[in-house]
Amino acid sequence: MALLSDEIAGELREAFSGLVNPVKLAVASQALADPVSEEVRRLVEELAALHEKLTAEPLNFVLDQERVAALGIERTPAIAILGEQDHGVRFYGTPAGYEFGSLVDGILDVSRGSSLLSEETRTALATLDRDVRLRVFSTPT
């Protein structure tokens, strides 16, 4: 049975019409240790089937260790949102409730290769001499 209803799938197709460049969703799961992560993998595969610019790359957290490490994935469930380049966007946990919208927004931002940040902020960020990791904690509502 599909996780996404026909109604939601239709809304997502409309949202994904805003996709610019292809996006790959690398989803790391492990069935035995984290059954919920398998649901997330299924969800990502259903998402990827909705638009030709989206592809899913299912990864087994244990068996595909090399690829998982290369993507900097530290736990499951994890979704790496990869555009023409890797902007470092990772979504950990279940994209449920309001956070499902965050995942979709993330996919659209990565596809555009852009964000809503002002030119001034971008210029300032470009002067940083190291990467800074932002961890945003939320809870499904």
Binding site: V36, R75, Y92, G93, T94, L117, S118, T121, A124, L125, T127, L128, D129, R130, V132, R133, L134, R135, V136, F137, S138, T139, P140
Partner: protein, 54 residues
């Protein structure tokens, strides 16, 4: 937050959304203007030993 109780403990998450910037103790709860986010990122880079060329 509920999915990763170890991280919630490690980063002292009492309310959400909470954003932890870098690993030097820079963090904020809720949302703020873009300029505030930039300042936090610059501070995190500074604490990490980076030089911010303004």
């Amino acid at each position: 937050m509920t999915g990763f109780p170890d991280l919630a403990r490690a980063y002292r998450i009492a309310s959400v959304p909470k954003t932890v910037v870098g690993d030097g103790g820079v963090e904020f709860v809720g949302a703020g203007p873009e300029s505030m986010l930039l300042q936090h990122v610059q501070e995190a880079a500074r604490r990490a030993g980076g030089v911010v060329v303004a």
